[in-house]
Symmetry: C2
Subunit: 375 residues, 2 copies
């Protein structure tokens, strides 16, 4: 983190919506809470607000650090701050932990008012549409009628697209990065294996592991390891690890032989120590279920026709989880409607995770786009 | 199976090598048994023998059926038989279950003479080099000094390549299909997740599950599901399953939503019901460890310079597990040495598994190559 451009010390806030929310599944929650953070200042005309939507394992802590925790840096700190591409001297930036999350928003770890116990597996499966509805309530609460932009990478990009369809008059720009209009069979397959790893962990206990004082960390660890392979590009893994040996020679055992094994185990262990398994399951389902063209006979153009926002679509050449071709599906659907769309395919070696990195061309492009947004 | 061209009823045979075998790990086995099958007739000059090496989950049962079991068809039956590309009217074809396998050859399911119990996790990790050494003993036993060809797909192709380097005078043709000169970091990563799924299954019991009367089927199931994703191409999965729903609408549960999930679960369940987890672990390690250039400063050309065989290298356009680029590494290394190599990249939509299918251009090419082998 570049300290001089950091937003500095930030603190999460809570929004409590006491009105019921009816979810796409048909389940109604009596109310909900969202944890969020804001950076910068909302201008008097309330025209400079930007919503940043998080992906599978993200949260509301986008930028800056927490008091006394200098290492707890926001996950998109390289993008957001004074003088950074998403410049907090100009924009009022909002990050929110989604419904069903495990960072403080209402989710499986929350107390179910019906029985006084944690929801666990009883928390309903949510969809991208539900998240956007909840985010809109937060926008109401913050007095934001219209977002200057809604931005997200991967699953976050899906939320940005959904915003444009669901609330066409409430945002001026969609910035969907490393995203896709819907998951492919292969995407769903990877999610399914991750889910099966969690569901078959003996500590899962049908999702009510909290009642047993355990967590299905073994399954969650496997899920994260599988995910990680898909976040990186083949060539990047080759450059970073290749066939480098951890101890210089084959072990002829199932201990770590190759450095890439050590890396994956570390990532899996780290993640499974803090992330909630039920949230992981819910979020993969939200990914699988997102399909805006579903109600339009699969015609994405028709689905997107309602949108009034300008679109920026960004893909990365080595992203094989959501390949550039998937971004171009969105671009072509918008072009067919003669909607305003800019598209760029960034030549970056870091696969799907590129959207989180500060590749100079990528950031220069986001900076230029954001500078051109009138406030 | 085309019944009129079937090899018909076949039966496995056993070869017992009572001489010790020293493995690459440094472990010495006091002796070993291999289960094998043969089809066709060895000609008087013993010049028409072809060895077919199996891949991760394959075995010795290449073609034909077993008496009373008409559905137990060999895994490469579409290739091998009278009038088929690998024509058993002309060639004497040998299939063998590798050392460490779970189809009857000496492996983790065998009795360890040291303690009278199944080897389980005490069976040593073997390498491709060990397999080839054991196969050479079988060749000695069968009176085959020189194979007309050694053929294999994927891991089987690695064995064929190893044959050419280890026993340059004992084969005339290498046919390596959908193979690679060594695994990439991404390849190893997928294997590692599969291993971790097995190793973390509570029923694994450190690999001595047989003593507990259980099998780590949950871990093996996950391993197979992960594997299956890498065997198929993204486009093929899209064509075959797309986003088709199992019950016509979202379930909002972790039951099967999409047909691709149902397919993967079925494949995982089927496999975990019969395959041995320790063999799976050993075989993934054999894959990871194969690296013929390792002793030659990573120079594959130097490693291959010993080979005297003609090479046929085949890849498939949609194979992303071992992409065409991996096959071309072998081709270029051979060309650099001015060795005789033919290469073809088959335009087939079925990903890595294409090598098992009977794509007409693929089979026509194998037929032509085999017809040109003098016997």
């Amino acid at each position: 983190m570049s300290q001089e451009n950091s937003i500095g010390i930030v603190a999460p806030q809570r929004f409590c919506s006491s009105a019921p929310i009816r979810l796409k599944s048909g389940v109604t929650l009596p109310g909900f809470e969202l944890v969020y953070e804001t950076y910068g200042t909302l201008n008097p005309s309330r025209s400079n607000a930007v919503l940043v939507c998080h992906a599978l394992s993200g949260n509301h802590h986008l930028a800056g650090i927490y008091a006394g925790k200098p290492d707890d840096i926001g996950w998109w700190d390289n993008l957001i701050g004074p003088g950074k591409p998403l410049d907090t001297r100009r924009f009022f930036v909002v990050g929110v932990n989604n419904l069903g999350g495990c960072y403080g928003s209402t989710g499986p770890l929350s107390i179910n008012p019906e029985n006084g116990k944690r929801y666990g597996a009883d928390f309903p499966i949510v969809m991208v549409e539900d998240w956007v509805l909840a985010q809109a309530r937060l926008a109401d609460y913050l007095g934001i009628e219209t977002w200057a932009a809604v931005i997200g990478g991967s699953l976050g990009g899906m939320q940005a697209i959904e915003w444009a369809m669901r609330f066409p008059d409430r945002l001026r720009h969609v910035m969907a990065i490393a995203s896709a209009p819907k998951l492919s069979a292969q995407n769903i397959a990877f999610n399914e294996v991750a889910r099966q790893a969690i569901l078959s962990d003996p500590n899962f206990h049908g999702g009510h592991y909290a009642e047993y004082g355990v967590v299905p960390s073994s399954g969650l660890r496997l899920a994260r390891m599988i995910g990680h392979i898909t976040y990186l590009s083949d060539s990047q893994m080759g450059d970073k690890f290749g066939r480098q040996l951890h101890r210089g020679e084959y072990q002829f055992s199932y201990d770590v032989d190759f450095k890439v094994e050590s890396y994956l185990r570390h990532q899996g262990n780290k993640f499974s120590a803090f992330f909630d398994a039920n949230t992981y399951l819910i979020t993969t389902k939200a990914l699988d279920y997102f399909d805006p063209a579903f109600d339009f006979d699969g015609d994405l153009s028709t689905a997107l026709a309602r949108a009034k926002a300008d679109f920026l679509i960004v893909s990365f050449t080595t992203d094989w989880r959501f390949s550039p071709a998937r971004s171009r599906e969105i671009v072509f659907a918008l072009m067919k409607n003669r909607q305003r769309v800019s598209y760029t395919n960034i030549d970056c070696d870091s696969g799907h995770d590129s959207f989180l990195l500060d590749d100079p061309r990528y950031h220069a492009m986001l900076r230029a786009y954001l500078e051109n947004i009138g406030i």
